[in-house]
Amino acid sequence: MSPEPALILDELPSLSKLYVNAAATAARRRLLGTQGLNSLPPGRHEVHGVRADVGNLTAYQHLIGESASDAMPAGFIHALAFPVAMSVLNRDDFPLPLLGMIHLGNRVEQMRAIQFSELLDIRSWAEDMRGHRAGTQVDIVAEVRASDDGTLVWRGVSNYLAKGVYLPGINKPGTGSAAWEFTPPAPTAEWQLGVDTGRSYATVSGDYNPIHLSMLSAKALGLRRSIAHGMYLASRALADVGSVKSEAFRWDVSFEAPVFLPARVALEIATVQSAAGGWQRSDYVAWNPRSGRKHFSGSVTGL
């Protein structure tokens, strides 16, 4: 259930302004210290009557390797809802710093094919702030409903980590399970990601987080090089799973080692068939073909 009360925004917030504001907030907190916030802001943010830009949709579909159909890829809906989610993270009373947050994973449920011409209502809120062995993690929920009848058509939960941030009253979990040993399987595909991969995805998704744009902007935030957007990688994997998936599906991804650009990424997509022989699920895992380090893994499951 989404929390009350709702803050209705007139339009989709500008992501570039949100990032500027986030930088200002970060600077202010560094100077003045945090105000000791240790709880999530109540309520949710909403934008009503959102319609996708078809030119942007086509560019997105081409970039991630989907055919330019009228149905929007699930990753594009994530990008459509992202400004609303960001406006929640960007609130003055949000306890964790937005810049430098690490995207740990994403869970999406898409209930049906969603056409670009549909009017959509988007709402987002934060929930379940909890400890992590490396800091504090939080879930940002986004829900997309058809404006005409209010049915839920898409729901995404993004799991973020504020690394090195420990808030009073938020317990660190136990040392936690160590990462499983990963032995790369035989790849079914290999991606060549150019140094401009982050900039290209920023253009179609609107996510201009500096860690994705250039080596310099990434260095300013403590990374040695720019990294690919997690949602770009996951959306490409979803595109590679292809049209075999049903119209209603669940799509999960867990991010591990970031993909520093430029990069080669090896990928395995395995299909799990139902007893009747139809498609049931596709599992994917991606790794660095040189080091064998796992970048991300996930699955697409029919609903």
């Binding site: 086509t58 081409h62 055919s67 330019a68 049209s243 075999v244 139809g278």
Partner: protein, 456 residues
């Protein structure tokens, strides 16, 4: 009346004489609305549009995960990276990934030729089902580097040392940087298709008003077909378009008469071809589902029409013997003769409107006693077509003409039309399709309303 006289498509003995040849049935079709170039599909690639048309067909006939015998389609303006265009569209569609596909290219006859080739495979027993199609984008057209730059780049790739590379690069001249865009000119004559047709239009003395009238009828017939819902099960909306964007339901003879001529202005005769009676550059895609009777029955799918026969022809347009777009004039009598038919046996004529002048020159040639005797080897004029049977639901002047997609548009529409018409004088309704193509080529075909064979 013996069965073979009733229906040109009744099962025939094969040359081996072992078993009756199977029939290739048109189950249905699907296309996306055609869009004028630079319009709603500007950013959509050929692969996008073909996949969209294919997915609409799959949804309409419940073909998800189905392994189709073979899919054939093509594009006239094709990027070199799209060498496997049709297979890639299949992989991006909801069909089984185990569906084979091939690309075909015969200029504007591409779409019709995919139907004929696949129908033949079905008749021969090689496949039980097939999807024919075509797509073209004049908006997302390929642009190549100039011939000079291409040679330099290839030589650069072959050179091994830095001095060698610098020597190759030193050959680069500013003019090499100008890109090489496709054009509609014939390589051997340098004349555009419109200028070629202007020669033919003048040769057959086709009046401006007759051309405008054909364009007027095309728009009004297409608009009326949309109004009565004829295309409801033939078209899937795409990128916000529900109808062909070139369609002008309110066009009038006065409006058409007000347009300035664009082709044939230097011929010494009155220039008659305008933007109104010539087809505009268009983007779009179409598909047609074919199968055996058994295949359709097993899936409870409709059987609209039978692909009876087809014929290709070509003319020597290079040295002016015949007009560039006049090959169907030669193909049609050969096709009719082989099937023992005359114009009297045809209920619908679908003559692709590359230009109004093309259709009218074609009709004039068939009505010309001397031409039919000397050039077609007939006893006299092939005949006059009842205009009430011509392009009754509009054609390319109104719908637009994404080159390779036109054949699929016509086959699917005609199959439905024939099915709706049912029997005529105790025989199945028949339709003739005529499509002219660049290079002086043309492909024609006969379709017949489906009727169950006796005893079924």
């Amino acid at each position: 009346m013996p069965a073979e006289e009733q229906s040109a498509s009744a099962p025939q003995q094969t040359s081996g004489g072992h078993q009756p040849m199977r029939r290739a049935v048109v189950v249905g079709g699907n296309r996306i609305p055609f869009a004028r170039t630079g319009g709603a599909y500007t950013k959509s690639s050929n692969q996008d549009m073909l996949t969209a048309a294919l997915d609409g067909l799959i949804a309409r006939f419940g073909l998800q995960d189905e392994r189709i015998g073979e899919v054939a389609a093509g594009a006239v303006l094709k990027h070199s990276r799209d060498f496997n265009l049709t297979r890639e569209a299949v992989l991006g569609s909801a069909l089984s990934a185990e569906t084979p596909a091939y690309d075909l290219q015969q200029a504007c006859a591409t779409g019709l030729e995919t139907v004929l080739g696949l129908a033949n495979k079905i008749k021969l027993g090689q496949i039980d089902s097939a999807i024919a199609g075509g797509v073209d984008s004049a908006s997302d057209a390929p642009i190549a580097v100039s011939e000079g730059l291409r040679e330099i780049l290839l030589d650069l790739n072959r050179s091994k040392t830095l001095p060698e590379r610098l020597k190759v690069l030193a050959r680069l001249r500013p003019k090499d940087l100008a890109p090489d865009a496709p054009n509609t000119g014939e390589p051997r004559t340098g004349l555009s298709m419109g200028e070629h047709q202007a020669l033919t239009t003048a040769q057959w003395e086709i009046a401006r008003e007759a051309q405008d009238e054909l364009a007027y009828n095309s728009h009004h017939n297409l608009a009326a077909a949309y109004e009565r819902g004829f295309f409801d099960d033939l078209i899937t909306p795409y990128r916000g378009l529900n109808r062909d964007s070139n369609l002008r339901p309110d066009t009038s003879m006065e409006k058409l008469a007000s347009l300035k001529p664009v082709f044939g202005k230097g011929l010494g005769t009155e220039a008659t071809m305008t933007a109104g009676n010539s087809t505009p550059l268009t983007d779009g895609a179409s598909t047609v589902l074919l199968g055996t009777e058994e295949w359709a029955d097993a899936r409870r799918l409709p059987k609209l029409a039978v692909v009876v026969d087809g014929e290709a022809a070509a003319v020597d347009f290079v040295h002016g013997k015949d007009g560039l777009l006049m090959a169907p004039v030669f193909a049609t009598p050969r096709l009719l003769e082989r099937n023992g038919l005359s114009f009297e046996d045809i209920d619908f004529f679908e003559i692709h409107e590359a230009f109004a002048g093309t259709v009218l020159s074609t009709l004039a040639a068939w009505e010309d006693d001397e031409f039919c005797r000397t050039r077609l080897g007939l006893g006299g004029a092939l005949g006059k077509i009842d205009r009430a049977k011509l392009n009754v639901n509009g054609s390319s002047l109104a719908a637009g003409h994404p080159f390779a997609a036109t054949g699929g548009r016509i086959v699917a529409s005609l199959a439905k039309l024939l099915h709706d018409r049912g029997p005529v004088d105790g025989r199945p309704a028949r339709g003739l399709i005529s499509i002219c193509a660049a290079g002086g080529q043309g492909v024609v075909a006969i379709l017949e309303a489906y009727t169950a064979p006796e005893g079924r």
